[in-house]
Amino acid sequence: MASLGSLATVPLKAKREGDKNAKSIVFVGLLWFAVLFAVLCLAVLLIDTFLDGRTRLDGNLFTRYTSEVIPETAGARAAILGSALVIVLTAAMAIPLGVAAGIYLEEFADSRRWYNRIIEVNLTNLAAVPAIVYGMLTAGVALSIGLPRRIVLCGAIALALLILPVIILTTREAIRAVPQEIRQGSLALGATPLQTVWRQTLPSAVPGIATGSILALSRALGEAAPLLLLGGLVFVNYDPNGLFSGYTVLPIQIFNWAQQSQLAFQQVASAAIMLMLVLLLIMNTLAIIIRNRYQKRW
């Protein structure tokens, strides 16, 4: 618990400082209003979505495919499995590559070389590129090598490209936070630079890397735009079962349901939104737990 306290910012304690003039009271009031406003909007949105979708938060949502014939029992089975498969594949591609790139840039690259500096500047820029651009890039590459765009592999590549810069940046931050003394100690005991990275620096940086990666993956989970550009499917009556299988994901399914005319589709869309919020909440909580439990302070 002590470590938790040290992480939090120390409040400004306006009252105790005797800062009681009208201006500062108005200012604090405005800040409170801003907080309340944001939280209130979120609460209204959540409650509204929950009320819309509560009747559909049942087993059908998980076990059935979407249905035009009986929208009342339409489910998100294909989308849930599709999201799981795509995210696992995205993680499998983006995390090793991103972590390796981060280690190289932080521990081995000579930042005085012009090409390393170009890479660094570009990485920061790439992290801010709109998601749809990665969809276009993947679509272009897939088309030129004759790969169908609608398959799991292409979707995962687009999402992996999307989160790669974020993973590289968080890996670098985490590695930079490992004190220099640990590296020097390891090297002084006769370890090679590779052994030092593998056995000392990287293990110490894992909590930071894990936190960053999970947050990046939860962003990928909520992303629809690049996958829509790749021709995301809206009706799938089978479980995705491989790299070359067609698929749909939760955000695309929700987007499609919300646009349909029948009320039943809008209700199931709300239920699926709740499901996705819960998934995202779980992932983000996991990231916070990992950070708080395992992050070390030197």
Partner: protein
């Protein structure tokens, strides 16, 4: 101390992976259960208007042939043809006939196809049920309302028809990417894509429904199903194209009296897919055979007798 941390993470990662794999593994038994005559994939993409109809077809077909995987995308009519003409899809949904550029693209991609009309849509002009002055509009009045020249000048209902009140017009319509927009502007304004642009546009028809519902002076247009689902709060405007006022309905759209706003909905079938993939042939045959039933289930306007025999004739070209 350091060595323990990665181990915990490995355990955590393994647990997550296990859960996911178990979830993915569990599915296989259920989907590969049937001992059907055909199996394989049928890939459809195209118009979002036709999408629900083809999805319903795929769903009903899947109940009979559980070995066939049908997937439907809604990249739009143009986006659908783009994939169709390079051979990525077997069937393309379209809310308008194929255009010259797309015909050239298909020729270049070596994709030969057959056009099948599978249903009819009635573009519906709607006002709020609170509106008490519009029952019927002539196509000329619609043109006055929507033509590019109306932008900024036609702002009061009394300018459209002197009998209407002197109230401000509020217009709602689909965005320019929509096939519905293309069709409406073509038949009403005389040129595809020519429209006034000072109206509330949305690609989401539910947004248009809400907009029109909210004001007695609002008018909008979209596909018939969206009117049908909201007929308690909306009123469909009758259309007079010179032969009297006609109400949009499945009957008037099917018998051809609701002109010019009823439009054909198509699927395009690749001849090569039909010949080489038995599952595509089975799906398309089922679609054509059960068309009436599928249209009814998906709440589309079914074909009339004449269109049905045309559909059967066109299907013969595939064989």
């Amino acid at each position: 101390m350091n060595a323990r941390i990665p181990n915990r993470f490995a355990a955590l990662g393994a647990a997550v992976l296990l859960v996911v794999l178990a979830a993915c593994g569990g599915q296989d038994n259920s989907s590969s259960g049937g001992g059907d005559s055909v199996s394989g994939e049928v890939v459809v993409d195209g118009s979002s208007t036709v999408g629900p109809l083809t999805s319903a077809a795929g769903e009903l077909f899947g109940e009979e042939q559980s070995g066939v995987k049908v997937s439907v995308g809604t990249s739009g009519t143009g986006g659908g043809f783009e994939k169709f003409c390079v051979g990525e899809t077997d069937v393309s949904d379209a809310s308008r006939p194929i255009e010259d550029e797309e015909i050239a693209a298909c020729k270049k991609g070596g994709v030969e196809y057959v056009e099948l009309q599978v249903a009819t849509d009635a573009l519906t002009v709607v006002v709020s049920s609170d509106n008490d002055f519009i029952e019927c509009l002539t196509t000329d009045e619609l043109k006055t309302l929507w033509e590019p020249g109306a932008e900024g000048t036609i702002t009061k209902w009394s300018q459209v028809n002197p009998d209407f009140p002197d109230e401000t017009i509020e217009l709602f319509g689909p965005g320019t990417d929509s096939g519905t927009f293309d069709y409406f502007t073509d038949v009403i304004n005389g040129e595809e894509g020519a429209s006034r642009s000072d109206y509330n546009a949305s690609e989401d028809d539910n947004v248009l429904v809400q907009g029109v519902e909210g004001s007695a002076n609002a008018l909008g247009y979209f596909g018939y199903t969206y009117f049908e689902e909201n007929s308690d709060a909306l009123k469909a405007v009758q259309i007079d194209s010179g032969k009297g006022c006609v109400e949009p309905s499945p009957e008037t759209a099917a018998d051809g009296t609701y002109t010019p706003l009823s439009r054909p909905l198509f699927i395009y079938v690749s001849k090569k897919s039909y010949a080489d993939k038995p599952q595509v042939a089975a799906f398309v045959d089922y679609y054509v055979e059960q068309d009436q039933n599928i249209a009814e289930v998906a709440k589309f306007i079914a074909l009339n007798d004449e269109q049905r025999s045309a559909l059967e004739g066109a299907t013969a070209e595939l064989k």
